[in-house]
Symmetry: C2
Subunit: 188 residues, 2 copies
DNA sequence: GTTCGCCTTGGGCACCCGCCCAATAACGAG
DNA sequence: CTCGTTATTGGGCGGGTGCCCAAGGCGAAC
């Protein structure tokens, strides 16, 4: 059996996971303490015992997921040998998300929530900037012209594809690949 | 003085405008009848007299704004002589929005709300598809390779730039132009 | 076994929600 | 003018909200 401390962390983990699911299903502002608690299988009062507020739980859950997803997408890119392999890895990571799965929707919901909360905005901006800088270094290794601007447009295009894919599932990263590869075509 | 019918339409217009502002400020799910009514300068009960529900008001307000903004962006593009002029017009339309203005935020909020409401989703998809088809025809006139896929990526990139620009205002359409132009580089 | 401290529960409080509705005001038709 | 229609108001109802808190459970230390 797990110790008391382990059980506490396990409950926090289940609350974060329930929060992520509900952000995706109902939208950031429609997540309630009772719904999170019920989905996590705990009493409603536990939410405010483990987290200072619902907003704090949402922040922690969303940012944790975003950092994990970005790391999963960027880590292989860091090791990419060339432009082709990097693009293949990036689009593979994109196709791991359908635009309607919890991870995609939490990303988009959190972007918008960041505009209404300065503290959250700072955290989200940090995640996006860090991803853009990793992409920039990859593009520099590839010899792409204007690597910073290219990375910014590429990152925005990936999120935009996710956004549009939620409406039209036929728009996959794979089908977008021949077009996106043109973005890297410019050499210095 | 305006006639009765004109005053009624004027009130509906003010309610739609107030709804748009509040969607941008607070998010789709956090718009309340009382807040909309107060901002429009009318009693709270009028909202349910002129609209069947709050959700119906939000739908009508958001879709009306989206159709107007898309038309404003796409109409000059239809008359564009070549690739350069079309791209200039498209990015000019993009730079008319900062990513934090009501129009930008209503677009993004409505994309996400569309995923939670099938009827709204159909309307939004129609708007996006129509814009993509107009872009496709422009790209065909330019002789761009794979015009459909290019239009889909371009439309997604524009919305993605809007999304990222809300976090980082330095990311303008103007600065993205030299990169985005590469998307059109492929000829058949 | 006893005690202590963290975990957990569910009810309660004050507040806000969408929507309804009776009362009233404003206005156009005759 | 009168009258009927339309527009408008604000209070009320049932319900849901975040957060608090008194009460108890329960494992660990001794």
């Amino acid at each position: 059996m797990a110790t008391t401390a382990e059980k506490g962390e396990q409950v926090r983990h289940r609350l974060r996971r329930a929060a992520v699911e509900l952000i995706a299903e109902r939208g950031w502002r429609a997540v309630t303490t009772r719904a999170v608690a019920e989905r996590a299988g705990v009493g409603q009062g536990l939410v405010h015992y483990h987290f200072t507020s619902v907003e704090a739980l949402l922040r922690e859950a969303a940012l944790g997921l975003m950092r994990a997803v970005v790391e999963q997408a960027a880590e292989p890119m860091d090791r990419a040998a060339g432009a082709d392999e990097g693009m293949r890895l990036l689009l593979g990571a994109l196709d791991a998300h359908t635009g309607t799965d919890p991870a995609s929707l939490v990303f988009l919901e959190t972007y918008l929530a960041a505009g209404r909360d300065a503290a959250l905005g700072g955290e989200v901006r940090g995640i996006v900037v860090a991803f853009r800088e990793r992409t920039t270094r990859w593009l520099e290794r590839c010899g792409t012209a204007e690597p910073e601007r290219t990375a910014a447009v590429l990152a925005a295009a990936v999120d935009g594809l996710l956004l549009h894919r939620g409406l039209d599932p036929s728009l996959t990263g794979g089908s977008a690949r021949p077009v996106l590869e043109r973005l890297l075509g410019g050499r210095r």
